[in-house]
């Protein structure tokens, strides 16, 4: 992953973070909410190669850690999304080319979002954070899973095109 791409990815995550915090979070979704940020971040992680997935996960996590509404310590999301990047890097080889099957890709992303939230909750519990009842947390994760499945096919084609533009000739 080139330095330019790291810079571009970071900028992209900042823009996405602003959209999430300013617009998406204002929508009252039935069954909890939808994190566009997590869905896009995990989609990008899924597109990347081994090192790219790790770096993209870390960058996405660092930007998400900047959220002023978060109770979690700074670095928690970076740790989790780096871990998710690692999981994707390890497992994508056994699933073959994810991008060849959009349905598999969407399900993979939705599962990734859910796993990220579960790890966030587990890690938060270990650090003594109050994250609500099990039922409530389950509903939040379920809501994110459903909305990610619904919205990912919509943003995936433009996201793929944007990513194509950002790739250098060598990376293509």
């Amino acid at each position: 992953m080139s330095a330019l791409r790291i810079f571009l990815t970071l900028g992209f995550f900042f823009v996405l973070f602003t959209i999430q915090e300013s617009a998406v979070s204002l929508i009252h979704f039935p069954i909890s909410g939808f994190s566009l940020y997590l869905a896009v971040a995990i989609s990008l992680i899924a597109y990347e190669d081994h090192n790219g997935a790790l770096i993209t996960g870390f960058l996405a996590g660092i930007v998400l850690d900047l959220s002023p509404t978060s109770n979690a310590p700074f670095g928690q999301w970076a740790l989790i999304l780096t871990g998710i990047g690692y999981l994707f890097a390890v497992n994508r080889d056994s699933i073959a080319d994810l991008t060849a099957s959009p349905v598999t890709f969407v399900l993979f992303v939705a599962t990734g979002v859910s796993i990220a939230l579960v790890i966030y909750l587990t890690f938060g519990s270990l650090l003594g954070e109050q994250n609500g009842t099990l039922v409530h947390d389950g509903v939040v994760i379920l809501g994110n899973l459903i909305w990610t499945i619904v919205f990912t096919p919509i943003f995936l084609p433009p996201l793929g095109r944007v990513r194509e533009y950002s790739l250098t000739a060598r990376e293509r």
Binding site: T18, Q20, E21, S22, A23, S25, L26, I27, H28, F29, P30, S32, G33, F34, S35, Y37, L38, H50, N51, L54, I55, G57, F58, G61, L64, D65, L66, S67, P68, T69, S70, N71, P73, F74, G75, Q76, W77, A78, L79, T82, G83, Y86, A89, V90, N91, D93, L117, Y120, L121, E129, Q130, N131, G132, T133, V135, H136, D137, V140, G143, N144
Partner: protein
């Protein structure tokens, strides 16, 4: 990486994980760098949120509007608002009665609720990627808002100010799982602790083992030292279920909030509260009662209509 992936990948993974753990350690040790970065983000975000909120607010209610399509109309909304107002007034009145019984009419009702408030618009809600329940308001330290100030809506307690920038503030909602507030039951003045559960209901635990809770009991804030973070007497909610488990030492109950946290448009932050009577409930200042004693004149006079004619039953009266 599935079969090792090369040393470079492993090294990268270790470096990134160690960096993340380093940040977490710094944050947990209270290093201001990480907290400062969130404050800077909030400063950058709040103007964008304010603009987007203005444009985006009709879209934000899309799903709830679709859900309630056909049911909502102007009259229904008016009735709901009136109902909420009346419920809030009942809470205030019940608490006043409970206090008056205990204090034997020592308290003077005049001037109650003389809180200095700052009104603010809700410009953002907590992110769905974290489990914290917060709102962002468009008033901050330049309006006199500081952390640990009580935030209310027209129906009661909404939350407490968590952090501020010059033009915005983040409010931790009462529904947040980490939220705790000392409350008392308006009926018998028993004190307890109300906890957010992350949903629309709350958990109440009485501190007094001999205290009793009944369904329908109204809860108001108990107040904090120096009125921060909580001013006393603000309506919080109503008990909807009591847990009569014999295994627990104190009574617990399920509470529903007066304030609808999903429908917050404008809130008020209490900047200062009267310190003379720290346990008095939130009440609007009543109009002073004026009594006039009219002495009948020996000779009836015909009014020319130039001046006001005192009518004791209809006009304000002045006490001499």
């Amino acid at each position: 990486m599935a079969r090792g992936g090369g040393n470079r990948s492993r090294l990268l993974l270790v470096i990134l994980l160690v960096t993340a753990l380093f940040f977490i350690t710094l944050d947990l040790r209270g290093v201001s760098l990480t907290k400062g970065s969130r404050s800077v983000t909030q400063t950058i975000l709040s103007p964008v949120q304010r603009t987007v909120s203005t444009i985006f607010s009709p879209v934000g209610r899309f799903f709830s509007d679709v859900k309630n399509f056909g049911k909502t109309n102007a009259q229904l909304q008016e009735e709901i608002a009136l109902n909420k107002l009346l419920k809030s007034q009942i809470a205030m009145n019940s608490d006043t009665k409970g206090q008056l019984a205990q204090l034997k009419a020592v308290l003077d009702l005049a001037g109650r609720g003389n809180y200095k408030v700052a009104a603010a618009r809700v410009i953002a809600r907590g992110s769905a990627s974290s489990f914290s329940q917060t709102i962002t308001i468009d008033a901050g330290s330049s309006s006199g808002i500081r952390p640990d100030m009580t935030v209310i809506s027209q129906n009661g307690l909404v939350g407490v100010v968590k952090s501020t920038t010059s033009s915005s503030a983040i409010v931790l909602l009462t529904s947040d799982p980490s939220f705790r507030v000392g409350v008392r039951i308006a009926r018998n003045q028993s004190v307890g602790v109300l906890s957010g559960l992350g949903s629309t209901s709350y958990s109440l635990v009485l501190l007094d083992p001999s205290g009793t809770i009944k369904t329908g009991d109204i809860l108001v804030t108990n107040g904090s030292e120096g009125n921060r973070p909580f001013v006393p007497g603000v309506p919080v909610g109503v008990v909807v279920g009591v847990d009569n488990s014999t295994a627990s030492l104190t009574q617990t109950a399920t509470v529903v909030s007066y304030a609808n946290l999903n429908d917050l448009g404008v809130v008020s932050v209490i900047l200062s509260a009267p310190t003379t009577a720290p346990s008095k409930p939130l009440l609007p200042s009543p109009n002073p009662t004026v009594t006039v004693y009219v002495t009948p004149s020996p000779t009836p006079q015909i009014s020319t209509g130039a001046g006001p004619t005192p009518t004791p039953s209809a006009q304000p009266t002045k006490k001499k």
